[in-house]
Assembly symmetry: D2
Homo-oligomer: 264 residues x 4
């Protein structure tokens, strides 16, 4: 199931969307992929099996990332038993839908931070020293529109993602000169992710995708290709931030054209 | 009409909206206001008369700011005949409404730049050395949403305003340490400006304002108050960038809430 | 000590710097100022006495803002016993100096978030419904350079402040249309604040200020003036974000000029 | 020298750095590369010969992009004689080194705009309708740090690049929904470009590169790889903005760590 001589790709937040496709993409290039997710052992093993059926190497583990010590234990275990983590993807979301402030309990706000920001800090805390010691490594971070602007109902999500983005810049400032590449990916559009968006929308998922038109939803396999490209950049030419969205989506900085004559 | 002992406030782009109200606000505090605008001598003299009727000091001049030498001549003339320009407001707009690329001729794009960006450079070129020699001065720059994000139909306007904003940062980098305050004001909402928005919308202006609801359009007198506050900041606490919009307007970085579950 | 008929200005984080000066500024205009800080009862009472000596109205309370329920209890108590909070200033910092990731324990990161981000959420949670019910109110938020960019050693601070900024945008999106003004103030320079920067630098504080040159450190009284101006803006012309720094400070987006020929 | 059945890659600004390497990268994948540059016919033909020696297809032309009609004529000629331009790269720089405002003549400021902003508008004006008619196409735009922040001595460059960035966002807003991909690449570091940085630094070029350390300067071949990846993104997952810099370079939003305790 694993191979000590393969480089390891670790993904925290490995559903059937971005995480699973990124794992498959790296496995296709000879990485051993370690997939970690919170629940659904069956779904997890299906992803592992798909990678192995395609000739790749992978293993999976369930993990509650918001619990103390879980991410830390996983990283230590992978490094000890499988091999050095060459590239890690922090792919945990913290989206809980649009909720007014009144409908955002303190616990929801804190959980958003635990998954959206603190978990990345904890991953970096345990993994960065190992990458620095090896003089190389890549930390990919899936992020969201909420990292660059707050919006109605996004109290928990935006606060968590805003923290995530500033943390990525801080990690980059400390670790890029030590040979570790940190890339913050602003996913500014809906992803065809059955385990998250799919579960949230339930019966309406297919109708939602259809409403977006042809190629109107990000294919996680396409995004995985962008992740792969980022991880291949030589250190003379590293990207820290990149955005992606479908062609038909309005970017976060735009809204509909308005009469906007604003000065005399 | 003027008084050599008063400090001078110069506004380039002095219609009945922001420019005229800013002139009145500074005149109320003892400045001699010099109002410059492209056309409508009658409207110009009305603004001057309003200021004088209120006990202030003002004078006006028509000027085609996009013509070579006009801004330069005006600054030299004011400095020679009236007094040192303590504070200047560059208030020329470059909005031509939403036009597709095909409907944006080369000449419109160039004129947008001449008014939106090059004119400010020319004003700074002639005025900054004088302010530096005096060890103080303030340059207020009215700007627009288009300075921080492009949008459909804004080819000319956004390119001009994006240049304006970067120019303001460059001016600030060179001149703040020499005692000159440069402030870039992002006006992110419609202004109750009869000479620009009013003329553009014509008969529909009142209906447009009504559609925005109570206090839904920026009162140029309120904005003039913000300009006055900026000009009063002591040099230990200078603002370089500030945004303003009505309470009911959606900021430029927001659009309507959407289902935005974007990761797994 | 208080006066039910006065509007109330509440400041969370009321040291002798920004918080104390803002309280004094609002008290000078007829507000009853409520000053809350974590420690130093004597210093707190000195600030209250200074305001009262100047003819103003103020009261103070010690409060550990990171403890559950403290901010909530304070807001309820002030509203019940003193009067409606017309304007609140969230002024708690979360700066712990520059620390490498290894020297940033999990607890420090979490405390940064509790003070820098969660406390503001908690304040908004209890206060916003009251302001909305009254159809008006102002929430001023002191923020920092770390809210707009991460930097070496700022893991805890930048993650907290990045969350703070995105939370402010989210609060604005929900509450501006309900009549409540939220303003995020990016303090991009050192403040002459004896209780924070002063205590951190100790004996070196005066030398540090001297090294910054004349007017090289933000005078908290000047910043309080800017806060006062923000709170006076009518709702047709609200600022959401503003930056301030001394004239001699390099803005966060600049560094020293370099040879920067970057393309062919 | 050309092949009508190959897709065409057009690069405006084809020196031996980014432009030449991008041309070679696309030619390697089967594109016919058209290289346009202002001067040095010999250097131009050397680039063409290198591509052909590697088995690729290319042609070159000298062109003064700031002259009216030149870009327009080139696009029409290429489309008529060689084939549809599938991907274009606007790679003209406008950097003139750091110059104070006094040392930035009006003509330098205008030329910066003509090369940095207006030329891209002209290219889009002639090319976009063709790409829209074909329902697809890619416009890559090399950009610079000056597009996202002004800095000392960058009056001309920053104003031009700030306009370029806002223009790219405007082009994206209009043309992405019509199937044309516009990508704005912020090159935030020095490039190993003999025809631009090399000529500017002359004898000091090698010493400069050495001073940056191992992999301390962007290899244009590496950047060309990123360009190639951008051009391969399917329309469900398009990047509009991406940054790149060497691992040892400080990003534009950072400077050196400072004592930055800024609030009480």
């Amino acid at each position: 199931m694993s191979d000590e001589r393969k480089p390891v790709f670790l993904v925290i937040g490995a559903g059937a969307g971005i995480g699973g496709h990124a794992a498959a993409r790296f496995a296709r290039e000879g990485y051993h992929a370690v997939l970690a997710r919170r629940s659904d052992e069956e779904g997890l093993q299906r992803l592992v099996a798909q990678i192995e059926d395609a000739g790749g190497s992978a293993s999976g583990t369930l993990l509650n990332a918001s619990d103390d010590g879980t991410i830390e234990e996983l990283v230590e275990r992978v490094e000890a038993n499988i091999g050095p983590i060459t590239c890690a993807l922090y792919n945990l979301g913290a989206q809980i839908g649009n909720r007014t402030l009144d409908n955002t309990p303190h616990g929801a706000f804190e959980l958003g931070w635990r998954l959206g920001c603190f978990g990345l800090f904890r991953l970096a805390h345990v993994l960065m020293p190992k990458m620095v010691a090896r003089g190389q490594g890549t930390l990919l971070v899936t992020s969201a529109t909420a990292a660059v602007r707050g919006n109605t109902g996004q109290h928990s999500h935006a606060a968590a993602m805003g923290g995530r983005r500033m943390l990525c810049q801080t990690l980059n400032a400390e670790f890029a000169p030590q040979g570790v590449h940190v890339a913050h990916v602003v996913v500014d559009g809906s992803v065809d992710a059955p385990d998250t968006l799919g579960k949230l929308l339930g019966d309406k998922f297919e109708a939602y995708k259809a409403s977006k038109g042809e190629d109107g939803v990000i294919d996680p396999a396409a995004l995985a290709e962008t992740y792969w490209s980022l991880a291949q950049q030589p250190r003379n030419c590293w990207t820290h931030e990149i955005d992606v969205r479908p062609w038909t989506d309005v970017p976060w900085w735009n809204d509909n054209p308005i009469v906007a004559i604003d000065r005399d």
